[in-house]
Chain length 357, copies 2
């Protein structure tokens, strides 16, 4: 596991709970220490003034001001429209480089392909990390994760964008509080920026996706994790993202699934055309598929994103799902993951005891 770094987050013009998904995710879950957020709109406030968490972390107007808080890393927490690098971003990044900061970027535009930035980074001895850029030397998956000694949990979904990363990270935090050694395998850009490691699965060529997941799972296993939480993507029958989901299943060879869903959603994002099948059918498909050849992972719990519902509707929905599926159900943000943790701990401990034999 890499060391804890001091991070300044660039979120210029968009820092809010729903406006800066990456910045909010990093603030909420990162192992690294955020020392300042950069957004001139909110300069002078603290993160706690703008978000329901984050306390006294200062918000400042510029990279220059953020330097007062001695960051080691400048993390680009927003995306420009287009895909090119606007002058304001270039200026901020150069300011970071010249002051000795590593740059972590989730942009589609690769900093490490930009001659000026590469030259400056080399001159200043800092590292440019494009988290969306697959590493060189990819390999084809070969089912190695079948031999993991840790208990492997994959968060799966009825659709993309339903809370799979959040469920995995909340479970990681809760399981750590119970004295376990959890690891998190990040597979999307926000997850990677949170963890400081991972694979940008949506950008990896098809032949190598499962191999990338397998590599990360086996590394966590070798490092002595007793439970590995793998960040899911897409949904197995999603007409565009299904293959990425299958890569996660075959690459991680999970012992268990946690199913994530937005109860009010009836069609797949982003097209809103093809209907999502009933949740029971989705569960059966995920379970039966792997059981043909590999382990037989069961859905051990459900994490709902009820943010579109009222407090009362959310409560009723959770009860309804519990009764219907006979599974522990929660909203990780609204009600916490305790019901899932209770179900999972004995399973994790049982596998550890078996592996120790």
């Amino acid at each position: 596991m890499s060391q804890i770094r001091r991070v300044a987050i660039l979120a210029e013009g968009s820092f809010s709970l729903f406006g800066a998904k990456t910045a909010v995710g990093v603030l909420r879950y990162s192992r690294h220490e955020t020392v300042a957020v950069i957004d001139s709109q909110h300069a002078g406030k603290t993160v706690g003034d703008v978000l329901p968490f984050g306390g006294g972390i200062p918000i400042v107007a510029s990279v220059a001001e953020a330097l007062n808080y001695k960051p080691e890393v400048l993390l680009i927490g927003i995306a420009p429209t287009g895909g090119q690098l606007p002058p304001s971003f270039r200026h901020a990044i150069l300011m970071g480089i010249e002051n000795g900061l590593d740059i972590w970027s989730g942009l589609h535009y690769f900093l490490s392909d930009d001659e000026e930035l590469v030259k400056e980074a080399a001159r200043c001895g800092v590292h440019l990390w494009d988290v969306r850029k697959p590493r060189p030397g990819l390999v084809v998956g070969s089912g190695k994760a079948l031999s993991a000694q840790a208990y492997v949990i994959l968060t799966i979904g009825t659709d993309c964008n339903v809370g799979k990363m959040t469920a995995a990270l909340e479970l990681r935090n809760a399981l750590a509080k119970h004295g376990l050694k959890p690891a998190f395998v990040a597979t999307g850009q926000t997850g990677i920026l949170i963890e400081g490691d991972g694979t940008p699965l949506d950008a990896v060529p098809g032949d190598f996706m499962a191999g990338e997941v397998e590599r990360l799972v086996m590394r966590c296993d070798a490092e002595g994790a007793d439970v590995i939480l793998v960040e899911g993507q897409g949904s197995i029958l999603h007409p565009g993202f299904g293959p990425v989901t299958l890569a996660l299943m075959l690459g991680s060879m999970p012992d268990a699934y946690i199913l994530c869903s937005v109860p009010s959603r009836t069609t797949y994002r982003p097209d809103h055309v093809i209907p999502i099948p009933p949740v029971r059918d989705v569960i059966r498909l995920y379970e039966d598929f792997m059981a043909v050849s590999y382990k037989a992972p069961k859905v051990q719990g459900v994490a709902l994103n009820t943010s579109e519902l009222s407090e009362d509707e959310a409560k009723q929905t959770i009860i309804h799902y519990e009764e219907d599926l006979k599974l522990p159900v929660c909203d990780p943000i609204r009600t916490g993951v305790s019901p899932l943790v209770e179900r999972l701990i004995p399973l994790i401990v049982a596998k550890r005891q078996q592996s120790d034999k």
Copy 2:
């Protein structure tokens, strides 16, 4: 559909039935006209002297000699070890460029990223086509192939490298002889070089694989094909290539499958570790998976690659599969695809009549 081109195939040092898979595939199946094969080992012979087909196509010693046969395209039909471009390849390619030939390359090394070759190609007005390089502007799949009016057949497999391209191409040829208008969607480098079009699915980032297949299927549909044969890849439970297979299923939304298999094979290539499930389980999985949400494609026939068996063993194996699966079974090369064609024609015609209504 693109026009027929005159092609010279570079196969220096490796032209034989099993030594030059791409060259042999192009000679056997391409719509384009091979005017010469370049391999100094066999110079002076004809293709028919070396392969069981190919007739009087001349084999020559060099690109310079091949020019006598007025090619328009130089097709690189062999791969160097390594991944870099050896001087002998560079010399041959430059000779082609300088004589006005387009270059079609299945190499991992991208000619279109090589400054010298790009400059020469521009000067000489020829096109460098790296078939392994995904096109720009990829999109996410959205289930559009559900609306195809043509009958869509996907060749699937119990493993990678079992004859999915061959089965699709033999079916295309046989269906055309029956007066149908078949189209072929190429998804691997040899298939693309044969067809002169397609998508290098193994190199496409995971998010866009299904979208690429969908685009090609819908283009064939718009061009008036009444049956579309999609070249399969991998196998749905293969620990590395499963995601590519699923992309083909979701991208093509098939009306039918043809299952391809090497009967003697018991573990997945290339690792020979994980066992291939019984063929009945594989068929059930492919069929049930799509039926949850989309069309309910059935396996309508089986194409075996019996090249490792004696004539008698092959015959017995085919009979055994027929009786066991109650499906038409053949070896496309050894016994021909007639049993599959007989089964498929009424299904293709029925969908056309339905679409015409």
